[in-house]
Amino acid sequence: MSYVLPGDVLTPPAPPPKSLKLGPGLLMLHTPGNPVIAHRPGVLHSTPKQQHWIETESRRYIPASQESVIGVIAYRAADAYRVDIGSAHLATLDALSFEGATKRNRPNLKVGNLVYARVSLANRDMDPELECFDATTRKADGFGELKDGFMVECSLGTCRRLLDSKHFLLPSLAQKFPFEVAVGMNGRVWLRAGSVKATVAISRAIGMLDDRQTSDDEVAAFVQLMDV
């Protein structure tokens, strides 16, 4: 693991490999030698396939194609919804981008409903677009309206940690009681458990994980002591 700061120069191998892919936080300059610089502070991650990116502990979501996000319906238009996904602009969700949706049979979402969706288009010059199905199979694939439950907000880094299957929190909670959870890459986590108490317990555990003043051990201890 290596930390980088904005402006740090990373030298790629001399003729840059064809497969070189620069993810968020990295930029190749068009000056002699084509140096790659970091423009965000964070942890540099690389894969053997020459993919590089920087993970940042930020709270502002910048949409990226194919990421799963949780959005709140902000407006209803005739044939599309405008959805708040925490980014600079509202995203557009076509009313037909749902499993089984036709011109006549559309999902009826209200302003304020939650949806779990995938970013289908993220372009810096256009509003992001979402879809609630897999465009090739037209199956829901887990996306769609999130009914009941509760939503908590946390940093983007916390979301990524929760999405890591090796992270301790969700499995250790699952040993205590059953629950459903949807983690959006945009710093939002939706959860639904059998009782109010359990839901509150999960949301507090996530809140503690998000709070930098509590260590992972304290969170683990909190989960162990939790009486639900």
Partner: protein
Amino acid sequence: MPREAEPSINQRDFVFSAVQQGIRVDGRTPLQARQIAICFGNELGWVECSLGKTRVIAQVTATVTRPSPERPFEGILLITTEFSPMASSAYETGRPSEEEVTISRMLEKTIRRSEALDREALCILTGKKVWALRLTLHFLSDEGDLLDCASVAAITALRHFRKPDVEVVGDEVTIFSPEERAPVPLSLHHQPMCVSFAFLGPANVLVVDPTHLEEQLANGTMSISLNAQREICVLQKAGGVALPADEVMRAVNIAVFRVRELSDIVSRALEEDSKTRVIEVR
């Protein structure tokens, strides 16, 4: 001005159903307040107060000025509230929002109108020289219940502050630097502090110390300023949901206890601080 996005339906329904069962989203019971923490700066009269993740800084400074001609015996207290987008992106610089106006007016009424500060004691030379105190409140972070946090910070800062000692001989006024003579504390008539409530859900469950989410979802809010002597200084229920009179009285009685608790916390914090601080002249 863009409005802050409203909480989702899921959040609203959950908060309401949970509070119906006596549970709040952060694990508190309806009548439980968040932990309050008070810390002091190097200077006298600099206080940072936090209530959960809500944070407010209060600072008191004093200068000598000429009193207003209508009130030649009285010193001047000026309360300024500094809202900035730092506390929450809902606040804008420039034109104040409704919440900002309500909070700053409540503080004004709690501290100035209730005569918390003995302003006559700020007089140095009648009609010529008085102390002008400036109480500045900086709102650093808004996670709900800014008003209660700010009122605790303000009262603590006024109790913490000391003004330089003065001596008047005839028309001659000498102001002593802290090195020459120990500065003197302000004289306060009483110490009013605010307690805010929110009414949540279809049954209008009363909760103390609402979080930001609860404030957004509330059917109505109510703030009561009291002092430890069980005197109401301000009671403000500006519209919102209609309540039976007994519910208002219940809130008043809860507030009485809460203020006593807050006064103890403030006194204890000031006591702790005074142990670590040397004010006397060496």
